[in-house]
Amino acid sequence: MSLHRIIALFMRHIYLYRRSLPRLMEIFYWPFLDLLLWGFISLYLVRYRENLPNFVAFLLGALILWDILFRSQQGISVSFLEDIWARNFLNIFASPLKPLEYVVSLMLVSSVKIIIAGTIMSLLAWLLYSFNIFLLGISLLPFILSLVILGWAIGIITISLILRFGQQAEVLAWGLALLFQPVSAVFYPVSVLPPALQAIARFIPASYVFEGMRGIIHTGSFPHHELIQSFALDTAYIGVAFLFFCLVMKTVKKRGLLAKIGE
Protein backbone atom coordinates (compact mmCIF):
# COMPACT_ATOMS: atom_id res chain seq x y z
CA MET A 1 0.00 0.00 0.00
CA SER A 2 1.37 3.35 -0.99
CA LEU A 3 -0.22 6.48 0.44
CA HIS A 4 1.12 8.80 -2.27
CA ARG A 5 -0.46 6.71 -5.03
CA ILE A 6 -3.80 6.74 -3.19
CA ILE A 7 -3.48 10.52 -2.71
CA ALA A 8 -2.61 10.93 -6.39
CA LEU A 9 -5.87 9.30 -7.47
CA PHE A 10 -7.83 11.08 -4.75
CA MET A 11 -6.48 14.41 -6.05
CA ARG A 12 -7.31 13.40 -9.62
CA HIS A 13 -11.00 13.25 -8.70
CA ILE A 14 -10.98 16.31 -6.45
CA TYR A 15 -9.44 18.40 -9.26
CA LEU A 16 -12.21 17.15 -11.53
CA TYR A 17 -14.94 18.32 -9.16
CA ARG A 18 -13.27 21.65 -8.39
CA ARG A 19 -13.71 22.96 -11.91
CA SER A 20 -16.93 21.28 -12.96
CA LEU A 21 -20.18 22.77 -11.76
CA PRO A 22 -22.38 19.93 -13.17
CA ARG A 23 -20.28 17.32 -11.35
CA LEU A 24 -20.35 19.33 -8.14
CA MET A 25 -24.11 19.77 -8.39
CA GLU A 26 -24.50 16.05 -8.88
CA ILE A 27 -23.38 15.51 -5.27
CA PHE A 28 -26.41 17.46 -4.05
CA TYR A 29 -28.77 16.69 -6.90
CA TRP A 30 -29.60 13.02 -6.22
CA PRO A 31 -30.07 13.29 -2.42
CA PHE A 32 -32.20 16.40 -2.96
CA LEU A 33 -34.47 14.65 -5.47
CA ASP A 34 -34.70 11.50 -3.34
CA LEU A 35 -35.63 13.58 -0.32
CA LEU A 36 -38.35 15.43 -2.26
CA LEU A 37 -39.81 12.29 -3.84
CA TRP A 38 -39.84 10.05 -0.78
CA GLY A 39 -40.89 12.93 1.44
CA PHE A 40 -44.03 13.52 -0.64
CA ILE A 41 -44.76 9.79 -0.88
CA SER A 42 -44.57 9.59 2.94
CA LEU A 43 -46.87 12.62 3.26
CA TYR A 44 -49.34 11.00 0.87
CA LEU A 45 -49.34 7.74 2.83
CA VAL A 46 -49.84 9.55 6.14
CA ARG A 47 -52.59 11.84 4.85
CA TYR A 48 -54.60 9.29 2.89
CA ARG A 49 -53.79 6.03 4.68
CA GLU A 50 -57.46 5.24 5.30
CA ASN A 51 -58.46 5.84 1.70
CA LEU A 52 -55.98 3.88 -0.41
CA PRO A 53 -57.89 0.87 -1.75
CA ASN A 54 -55.83 0.46 -4.95
CA PHE A 55 -52.44 1.49 -3.67
CA VAL A 56 -50.58 -1.42 -5.33
CA ALA A 57 -52.18 -0.56 -8.67
CA PHE A 58 -51.32 3.13 -8.15
CA LEU A 59 -47.68 2.37 -7.38
CA LEU A 60 -47.02 -0.29 -10.02
CA GLY A 61 -48.97 1.58 -12.70
CA ALA A 62 -47.05 4.76 -11.87
CA LEU A 63 -43.73 2.92 -11.90
CA ILE A 64 -44.36 1.39 -15.32
CA LEU A 65 -45.52 4.70 -16.79
CA TRP A 66 -42.59 6.61 -15.26
CA ASP A 67 -40.21 4.05 -16.74
CA ILE A 68 -41.74 4.69 -20.15
CA LEU A 69 -40.99 8.40 -19.83
CA PHE A 70 -37.47 7.66 -18.56
CA ARG A 71 -36.74 5.17 -21.41
CA SER A 72 -38.11 7.64 -23.91
CA GLN A 73 -35.61 10.28 -22.74
CA GLN A 74 -32.78 7.74 -22.46
CA GLY A 75 -33.50 6.44 -25.95
CA ILE A 76 -32.50 9.88 -27.22
CA SER A 77 -29.67 10.85 -24.88
CA VAL A 78 -27.86 7.51 -24.46
CA SER A 79 -28.05 6.73 -28.20
CA PHE A 80 -26.48 10.14 -28.81
CA LEU A 81 -23.76 9.41 -26.26
CA GLU A 82 -23.00 6.05 -27.92
CA ASP A 83 -21.68 7.94 -30.95
CA ILE A 84 -19.66 10.31 -28.77
CA TRP A 85 -18.14 7.42 -26.80
CA ALA A 86 -17.33 5.55 -30.03
CA ARG A 87 -15.76 8.75 -31.50
CA ASN A 88 -18.04 8.25 -34.49
CA PHE A 89 -19.91 11.51 -34.14
CA LEU A 90 -17.95 13.48 -36.74
CA ASN A 91 -18.32 10.74 -39.33
CA ILE A 92 -22.08 11.05 -38.94
CA PHE A 93 -22.21 14.83 -39.06
CA ALA A 94 -19.73 15.01 -41.94
CA SER A 95 -22.35 13.15 -44.00
CA PRO A 96 -25.35 14.75 -45.78
CA LEU A 97 -27.41 14.12 -42.62
CA LYS A 98 -29.47 17.10 -41.44
CA PRO A 99 -29.75 17.83 -37.69
CA LEU A 100 -33.48 17.20 -37.64
CA GLU A 101 -33.04 13.85 -39.42
CA TYR A 102 -30.60 12.93 -36.68
CA VAL A 103 -33.12 13.77 -33.96
CA VAL A 104 -35.93 11.87 -35.71
CA SER A 105 -33.70 8.77 -35.98
CA LEU A 106 -33.05 8.97 -32.23
CA MET A 107 -36.82 9.23 -31.63
CA LEU A 108 -37.27 6.02 -33.59
CA VAL A 109 -34.61 4.25 -31.50
CA SER A 110 -36.34 5.55 -28.39
CA SER A 111 -39.70 4.13 -29.58
CA VAL A 112 -38.20 0.66 -30.00
CA LYS A 113 -36.61 0.85 -26.53
CA ILE A 114 -39.94 1.93 -25.00
CA ILE A 115 -41.85 -0.94 -26.59
CA ILE A 116 -39.30 -3.47 -25.32
CA ALA A 117 -38.97 -1.95 -21.82
CA GLY A 118 -42.76 -1.43 -21.49
CA THR A 119 -43.48 -5.03 -22.49
CA ILE A 120 -40.90 -6.45 -20.07
CA MET A 121 -42.07 -4.26 -17.17
CA SER A 122 -45.73 -5.13 -17.78
CA LEU A 123 -44.94 -8.84 -18.01
CA LEU A 124 -42.87 -8.79 -14.82
CA ALA A 125 -45.59 -6.86 -12.94
CA TRP A 126 -48.11 -9.48 -14.06
CA LEU A 127 -45.87 -12.47 -13.20
CA LEU A 128 -44.56 -11.18 -9.87
CA TYR A 129 -47.48 -9.14 -8.52
CA SER A 130 -50.49 -10.31 -10.60
CA PHE A 131 -50.85 -6.70 -11.73
CA ASN A 132 -52.21 -6.43 -15.27
CA ILE A 133 -51.65 -2.89 -16.54
CA PHE A 134 -53.91 -3.59 -19.54
CA LEU A 135 -56.87 -3.95 -17.19
CA LEU A 136 -56.67 -0.18 -17.02
CA GLY A 137 -57.89 -0.34 -20.56
CA ILE A 138 -57.00 1.03 -23.96
CA SER A 139 -57.66 4.51 -22.55
CA LEU A 140 -54.16 4.47 -21.07
CA LEU A 141 -52.51 4.47 -24.51
CA PRO A 142 -52.93 8.21 -25.26
CA PHE A 143 -51.44 8.96 -21.83
CA ILE A 144 -48.47 6.73 -22.66
CA LEU A 145 -48.01 8.65 -25.91
CA SER A 146 -48.05 11.90 -23.97
CA LEU A 147 -45.27 10.62 -21.69
CA VAL A 148 -43.22 9.45 -24.67
CA ILE A 149 -43.43 12.92 -26.24
CA LEU A 150 -42.35 14.56 -22.98
CA GLY A 151 -39.45 12.07 -22.73
CA TRP A 152 -38.38 12.99 -26.27
CA ALA A 153 -38.50 16.69 -25.45
CA ILE A 154 -36.35 16.19 -22.32
CA GLY A 155 -34.00 13.94 -24.34
CA ILE A 156 -33.55 16.55 -27.07
CA ILE A 157 -32.84 19.27 -24.50
CA THR A 158 -30.37 16.92 -22.79
CA ILE A 159 -28.37 16.26 -25.96
CA SER A 160 -28.41 19.97 -26.79
CA LEU A 161 -26.88 20.73 -23.40
CA ILE A 162 -24.26 17.99 -23.85
CA LEU A 163 -23.40 19.41 -27.28
CA ARG A 164 -23.04 22.87 -25.79
CA PHE A 165 -21.22 22.04 -22.54
CA GLY A 166 -19.40 18.87 -23.56
CA GLN A 167 -18.48 15.80 -21.57
CA GLN A 168 -19.05 17.40 -18.16
CA ALA A 169 -22.78 17.64 -18.97
CA GLU A 170 -23.08 13.90 -19.72
CA VAL A 171 -24.53 13.32 -16.25
CA LEU A 172 -27.69 15.07 -17.48
CA ALA A 173 -28.40 12.04 -19.67
CA TRP A 174 -29.39 10.23 -16.47
CA GLY A 175 -30.47 13.13 -14.32
CA LEU A 176 -32.56 15.64 -16.24
CA ALA A 177 -35.74 13.55 -16.48
CA LEU A 178 -35.60 12.90 -12.73
CA LEU A 179 -35.77 16.64 -12.10
CA PHE A 180 -39.35 16.44 -13.40
CA GLN A 181 -40.30 13.50 -11.16
CA PRO A 182 -41.23 15.26 -7.88
CA VAL A 183 -43.49 17.76 -9.72
CA SER A 184 -44.97 15.13 -12.06
CA ALA A 185 -46.94 13.67 -9.15
CA VAL A 186 -45.90 10.18 -10.20
CA PHE A 187 -46.54 8.36 -6.92
CA TYR A 188 -48.86 10.84 -5.20
CA PRO A 189 -51.53 13.35 -6.26
CA VAL A 190 -50.66 16.97 -7.07
CA SER A 191 -52.66 18.01 -3.98
CA VAL A 192 -49.89 16.58 -1.75
CA LEU A 193 -47.41 19.15 -3.07
CA PRO A 194 -47.00 22.58 -1.44
CA PRO A 195 -48.76 25.41 -3.38
CA ALA A 196 -45.57 26.63 -5.12
CA LEU A 197 -44.81 23.15 -6.48
CA GLN A 198 -48.48 22.65 -7.41
CA ALA A 199 -48.16 25.76 -9.60
CA ILE A 200 -45.10 24.25 -11.30
CA ALA A 201 -46.87 20.88 -11.69
CA ARG A 202 -49.57 22.62 -13.74
CA PHE A 203 -46.93 23.22 -16.44
CA ILE A 204 -45.66 19.62 -16.47
CA PRO A 205 -47.53 17.38 -18.95
CA ALA A 206 -46.68 14.25 -16.93
CA SER A 207 -48.60 15.52 -13.88
CA TYR A 208 -51.86 15.34 -15.92
CA VAL A 209 -50.95 11.84 -17.09
CA PHE A 210 -50.41 10.48 -13.60
CA GLU A 211 -53.48 12.24 -12.25
CA GLY A 212 -55.37 10.76 -15.22
CA MET A 213 -54.04 7.27 -14.49
CA ARG A 214 -55.17 7.51 -10.87
CA GLY A 215 -58.54 8.76 -12.11
CA ILE A 216 -58.92 5.70 -14.38
CA ILE A 217 -57.97 3.30 -11.55
CA HIS A 218 -60.14 5.09 -9.02
CA THR A 219 -63.31 5.90 -10.97
CA GLY A 220 -62.94 3.96 -14.21
CA SER A 221 -63.89 7.05 -16.22
CA PHE A 222 -61.70 8.59 -18.90
CA PRO A 223 -60.22 11.98 -17.92
CA HIS A 224 -60.52 13.89 -21.24
CA HIS A 225 -59.59 17.20 -19.67
CA GLU A 226 -56.24 15.92 -18.34
CA LEU A 227 -55.39 14.32 -21.67
CA ILE A 228 -56.03 17.52 -23.64
CA GLN A 229 -53.94 19.56 -21.20
CA SER A 230 -51.05 17.10 -21.29
CA PHE A 231 -50.99 17.06 -25.11
CA ALA A 232 -51.19 20.84 -25.31
CA LEU A 233 -48.17 21.11 -23.01
CA ASP A 234 -46.36 18.30 -24.89
CA THR A 235 -46.74 20.24 -28.14
CA ALA A 236 -45.14 23.28 -26.54
CA TYR A 237 -42.34 21.21 -24.95
CA ILE A 238 -41.39 19.34 -28.14
CA GLY A 239 -41.55 22.58 -30.16
CA VAL A 240 -39.26 24.37 -27.72
CA ALA A 241 -36.91 21.34 -27.62
CA PHE A 242 -36.54 21.28 -31.42
CA LEU A 243 -35.98 25.02 -31.51
CA PHE A 244 -33.41 24.81 -28.71
CA PHE A 245 -31.57 21.98 -30.51
CA CYS A 246 -31.39 23.99 -33.76
CA LEU A 247 -30.12 27.07 -31.92
CA VAL A 248 -27.50 25.03 -30.04
CA MET A 249 -26.34 23.40 -33.30
CA LYS A 250 -25.76 26.86 -34.74
CA THR A 251 -23.84 27.96 -31.65
CA VAL A 252 -21.64 24.86 -31.43
CA LYS A 253 -20.75 25.11 -35.11
CA LYS A 254 -19.85 28.74 -34.63
CA ARG A 255 -17.66 27.95 -31.60
CA GLY A 256 -16.09 24.86 -33.16
CA LEU A 257 -17.56 22.68 -30.41
CA LEU A 258 -19.21 20.16 -32.74
CA ALA A 259 -15.80 19.15 -34.04
CA LYS A 260 -14.36 19.12 -30.52
CA ILE A 261 -17.01 16.84 -29.03
CA GLY A 262 -16.61 14.41 -31.93
CA GLU A 263 -12.89 13.77 -31.48
Binding site: E82, A86, N91, I92, F93, P96, K253
Partner: protein, 244 residues
Protein backbone atom coordinates in the same frame (compact mmCIF):
# COMPACT_ATOMS: atom_id res chain seq x y z
CA UNK B 1 -9.28 25.71 -67.29
CA UNK B 2 -11.84 23.40 -65.65
CA UNK B 3 -14.01 24.67 -62.83
CA UNK B 4 -12.42 24.04 -59.43
CA UNK B 5 -13.86 21.35 -57.15
CA UNK B 6 -13.31 23.54 -54.10
CA UNK B 7 -12.89 27.28 -54.13
CA UNK B 8 -12.12 29.00 -50.85
CA UNK B 9 -11.95 32.78 -50.67
CA UNK B 10 -10.56 34.79 -47.75
CA UNK B 11 -11.67 32.19 -45.24
CA UNK B 12 -11.29 33.42 -41.67
CA UNK B 13 -12.13 31.81 -38.35
CA UNK B 14 -11.95 33.38 -34.92
CA UNK B 15 -12.35 31.33 -31.75
CA UNK B 16 -13.10 34.14 -29.31
CA UNK B 17 -10.01 36.35 -29.82
CA UNK B 18 -7.81 33.66 -31.38
CA UNK B 19 -7.52 33.92 -35.16
CA UNK B 20 -7.32 30.22 -36.09
CA UNK B 21 -7.63 30.78 -39.85
CA UNK B 22 -6.59 34.07 -41.39
CA UNK B 23 -7.89 35.08 -44.83
CA UNK B 24 -7.01 31.77 -46.49
CA UNK B 25 -7.79 31.41 -50.21
CA UNK B 26 -7.12 28.40 -52.41
CA UNK B 27 -8.58 26.19 -55.13
CA UNK B 28 -8.69 22.43 -55.44
CA UNK B 29 -8.60 21.41 -59.08
CA UNK B 30 -10.29 18.27 -60.49
CA UNK B 31 -8.21 15.15 -59.86
CA UNK B 32 -5.70 17.00 -57.70
CA UNK B 33 -4.24 16.04 -54.32
CA UNK B 34 -3.70 19.17 -52.30
CA UNK B 35 -1.62 18.72 -49.14
CA UNK B 36 -1.96 20.94 -46.09
CA UNK B 37 1.16 21.23 -43.98
CA UNK B 38 1.87 23.09 -40.80
CA UNK B 39 2.69 22.73 -37.14
CA UNK B 40 0.02 21.89 -34.57
CA UNK B 41 -2.49 24.72 -34.31
CA UNK B 42 -1.72 25.99 -37.81
CA UNK B 43 -5.39 25.76 -38.82
CA UNK B 44 -5.33 22.65 -41.07
CA UNK B 45 -8.03 20.70 -39.23
CA UNK B 46 -10.15 23.83 -38.69
CA UNK B 47 -10.15 24.40 -42.46
CA UNK B 48 -11.22 20.80 -43.09
CA UNK B 49 -14.00 21.14 -40.51
CA UNK B 50 -15.18 24.32 -42.21
CA UNK B 51 -15.12 22.54 -45.59
CA UNK B 52 -17.40 19.88 -44.08
CA UNK B 53 -19.74 22.43 -42.52
CA UNK B 54 -18.88 21.22 -39.02
CA UNK B 55 -17.53 24.63 -38.05
CA UNK B 56 -19.00 27.91 -39.30
CA UNK B 57 -16.49 30.39 -40.75
CA UNK B 58 -16.35 33.87 -39.26
CA UNK B 59 -16.01 35.30 -42.77
CA UNK B 60 -15.07 34.30 -46.29
CA UNK B 61 -16.71 31.89 -48.70
CA UNK B 62 -16.51 28.19 -49.50
CA UNK B 63 -17.75 26.86 -52.80
CA UNK B 64 -17.73 23.15 -53.59
CA UNK B 65 -18.72 21.96 -57.10
CA UNK B 66 -19.56 25.65 -57.71
CA UNK B 67 -22.20 25.58 -54.94
CA UNK B 68 -22.19 27.66 -51.80
CA UNK B 69 -21.51 25.32 -48.86
CA UNK B 70 -23.70 27.21 -46.42
CA UNK B 71 -26.76 26.89 -48.67
CA UNK B 72 -26.13 23.47 -50.24
CA UNK B 73 -24.35 21.55 -47.46
CA UNK B 74 -26.38 18.35 -47.71
CA UNK B 75 -26.21 18.28 -51.52
CA UNK B 76 -22.43 18.83 -51.50
CA UNK B 77 -21.69 16.25 -48.80
CA UNK B 78 -23.63 13.65 -50.78
CA UNK B 79 -20.68 13.75 -53.20
CA UNK B 80 -17.91 14.24 -50.66
CA UNK B 81 -16.49 12.20 -47.81
CA UNK B 82 -14.09 12.46 -44.92
CA UNK B 83 -11.68 10.38 -42.90
CA UNK B 84 -9.62 11.29 -39.88
CA UNK B 85 -7.35 9.26 -37.71
CA UNK B 86 -8.95 10.97 -34.68
CA UNK B 87 -12.42 9.73 -35.58
CA UNK B 88 -13.50 6.13 -35.18
CA UNK B 89 -16.36 3.90 -36.26
CA UNK B 90 -19.26 2.52 -34.15
CA UNK B 91 -17.47 0.29 -31.61
CA UNK B 92 -20.15 -2.32 -31.05
CA UNK B 93 -20.95 -2.90 -34.70
CA UNK B 94 -19.15 -5.29 -37.00
CA UNK B 95 -17.06 -4.04 -39.91
CA UNK B 96 -19.85 -4.90 -42.35
CA UNK B 97 -22.61 -3.37 -40.20
CA UNK B 98 -20.61 -0.13 -39.84
CA UNK B 99 -20.24 0.17 -43.58
CA UNK B 100 -23.94 -0.64 -44.03
CA UNK B 101 -24.88 2.27 -41.75
CA UNK B 102 -22.87 4.67 -43.87
CA UNK B 103 -24.15 3.12 -47.10
CA UNK B 104 -27.66 4.03 -45.86
CA UNK B 105 -26.54 7.50 -44.75
CA UNK B 106 -25.18 8.24 -48.23
CA UNK B 107 -28.05 6.43 -49.96
CA UNK B 108 -25.66 4.12 -51.82
CA UNK B 109 -27.24 1.90 -54.49
CA UNK B 110 -26.34 -1.81 -54.50
CA UNK B 111 -25.04 -1.58 -50.95
CA UNK B 112 -23.90 -5.20 -50.62
CA UNK B 113 -21.88 -5.00 -53.83
CA UNK B 114 -20.23 -1.74 -52.80
CA UNK B 115 -19.33 -3.02 -49.32
CA UNK B 116 -17.83 -6.22 -50.74
CA UNK B 117 -15.79 -4.18 -53.21
CA UNK B 118 -14.41 -1.93 -50.44
CA UNK B 119 -13.65 -4.86 -48.14
CA UNK B 120 -11.71 -6.46 -50.98
CA UNK B 121 -9.79 -3.26 -51.83
CA UNK B 122 -8.82 -2.70 -48.20
CA UNK B 123 -8.05 -6.39 -47.60
CA UNK B 124 -10.69 -6.66 -44.87
CA UNK B 125 -12.84 -9.49 -46.21
CA UNK B 126 -11.63 -11.84 -43.48
CA UNK B 127 -12.79 -9.52 -40.70
CA UNK B 128 -16.14 -8.41 -42.11
CA UNK B 129 -18.00 -9.91 -39.13
CA UNK B 130 -15.55 -8.74 -36.47
CA UNK B 131 -16.67 -6.01 -34.06
CA UNK B 132 -14.90 -2.67 -34.51
CA UNK B 133 -13.90 -2.67 -30.80
CA UNK B 134 -11.68 -5.69 -31.48
CA UNK B 135 -9.79 -4.07 -34.36
CA UNK B 136 -6.32 -2.56 -34.07
CA UNK B 137 -6.04 1.21 -34.62
CA UNK B 138 -4.52 0.50 -38.02
CA UNK B 139 -7.52 -1.58 -39.06
CA UNK B 140 -9.93 1.08 -37.79
CA UNK B 141 -8.09 3.64 -39.94
CA UNK B 142 -8.50 1.34 -42.96
CA UNK B 143 -12.18 0.90 -42.15
CA UNK B 144 -12.52 4.68 -41.91
CA UNK B 145 -10.93 5.02 -45.34
CA UNK B 146 -13.27 2.35 -46.70
CA UNK B 147 -16.16 4.35 -45.24
CA UNK B 148 -14.79 7.46 -46.96
CA UNK B 149 -15.17 5.75 -50.33
CA UNK B 150 -18.62 4.26 -49.69
CA UNK B 151 -20.44 6.90 -51.74
CA UNK B 152 -17.87 7.03 -54.56
CA UNK B 153 -17.12 10.66 -53.65
CA UNK B 154 -15.82 13.27 -56.08
CA UNK B 155 -13.85 14.94 -53.30
CA UNK B 156 -12.21 13.51 -50.19
CA UNK B 157 -11.11 15.36 -47.08
CA UNK B 158 -8.45 13.32 -45.29
CA UNK B 159 -7.14 14.53 -41.94
CA UNK B 160 -3.89 12.70 -41.14
CA UNK B 161 -5.30 9.45 -42.50
CA UNK B 162 -2.09 7.47 -42.09
CA UNK B 163 -1.05 8.75 -38.64
CA UNK B 164 -1.74 5.49 -36.82
CA UNK B 165 -0.64 3.09 -39.55
CA UNK B 166 2.59 1.12 -39.65
CA UNK B 167 4.94 2.00 -42.55
CA UNK B 168 3.78 -0.98 -44.63
CA UNK B 169 0.05 -0.24 -44.38
CA UNK B 170 0.70 3.52 -44.68
CA UNK B 171 2.56 2.88 -47.93
CA UNK B 172 -0.22 0.61 -49.18
CA UNK B 173 -2.78 3.29 -48.28
CA UNK B 174 -0.87 5.97 -50.22
CA UNK B 175 -0.58 3.66 -53.21
CA UNK B 176 -4.30 2.96 -52.98
CA UNK B 177 -5.18 6.66 -52.76
CA UNK B 178 -3.03 7.43 -55.78
CA UNK B 179 -4.72 4.59 -57.67
CA UNK B 180 -8.20 5.77 -56.71
CA UNK B 181 -7.31 9.30 -57.70
CA UNK B 182 -6.04 8.08 -61.09
CA UNK B 183 -8.88 5.66 -61.80
CA UNK B 184 -11.79 7.70 -60.49
CA UNK B 185 -10.44 11.22 -60.81
CA UNK B 186 -11.16 12.03 -57.16
CA UNK B 187 -9.85 15.30 -55.79
CA UNK B 188 -8.30 15.10 -52.33
CA UNK B 189 -7.41 17.53 -49.58
CA UNK B 190 -4.88 15.83 -47.37
CA UNK B 191 -3.21 16.79 -44.09
CA UNK B 192 -0.24 15.04 -42.57
CA UNK B 193 2.78 15.62 -40.36
CA UNK B 194 4.72 13.13 -42.42
CA UNK B 195 6.74 15.32 -44.78
CA UNK B 196 8.01 12.45 -46.89
CA UNK B 197 4.44 11.32 -47.40
CA UNK B 198 3.33 14.81 -48.40
CA UNK B 199 6.19 15.13 -50.86
CA UNK B 200 5.28 11.77 -52.34
CA UNK B 201 1.51 12.06 -52.59
CA UNK B 202 0.67 15.74 -53.09
CA UNK B 203 0.42 17.45 -56.45
CA UNK B 204 0.50 20.75 -54.66
CA UNK B 205 1.04 21.78 -51.05
CA UNK B 206 -0.04 24.67 -48.87
CA UNK B 207 2.04 25.59 -45.83
CA UNK B 208 0.03 27.05 -43.00
CA UNK B 209 1.40 28.80 -39.95
CA UNK B 210 -0.75 30.51 -37.30
CA UNK B 211 -3.71 30.31 -39.66
CA UNK B 212 -2.02 31.97 -42.64
CA UNK B 213 -0.71 30.53 -45.89
CA UNK B 214 3.02 31.14 -45.85
CA UNK B 215 4.02 29.06 -48.88
CA UNK B 216 2.33 27.09 -51.61
CA UNK B 217 3.10 25.29 -54.85
CA UNK B 218 4.38 21.96 -56.14
CA UNK B 219 6.42 20.20 -53.42
CA UNK B 220 9.63 20.26 -55.45
CA UNK B 221 9.19 23.95 -56.28
CA UNK B 222 8.58 24.85 -52.62
CA UNK B 223 11.68 22.91 -51.54
CA UNK B 224 13.71 24.66 -54.24
CA UNK B 225 12.40 28.12 -53.44
CA UNK B 226 13.55 27.68 -49.85
CA UNK B 227 16.88 26.27 -51.01
CA UNK B 228 16.46 23.19 -48.86
CA UNK B 229 16.94 19.47 -49.43
CA UNK B 230 13.41 18.33 -48.65
CA UNK B 231 10.03 19.33 -47.21
CA UNK B 232 11.03 18.38 -43.68
CA UNK B 233 13.77 21.02 -43.70
CA UNK B 234 11.35 23.57 -45.13
CA UNK B 235 8.81 22.64 -42.46
CA UNK B 236 11.32 23.10 -39.64
CA UNK B 237 12.46 26.42 -41.04
CA UNK B 238 8.94 27.78 -41.43
CA UNK B 239 7.62 26.38 -38.16
CA UNK B 240 10.54 27.93 -36.24
CA UNK B 241 10.16 31.23 -38.05
CA UNK B 242 13.68 31.13 -39.51
CA UNK B 243 14.43 33.17 -42.60
CA UNK B 244 15.30 31.45 -45.92
Amino acid sequence: MADPIVEVTRLTKFFKTLKAVDEVSFRLEPGEILGFLGPNGAGKTTIIHMLLGLTTPTSGSIKVFGLDLEKHRSEILQQANFSSTYVSMPYSLTVKESLEVFAWLYDVRRKEEKISELLRIFEMEGIRNKEVRHLSSGLITRLNLAKALINSPKVLFLDEPTASLDPDIADKTRTLLRRIKKERGISIIYTSHNMKEMEEISDRIIFLHKGRIIASGKPADVVQSFRRQNLEEVFLQLARGEKA
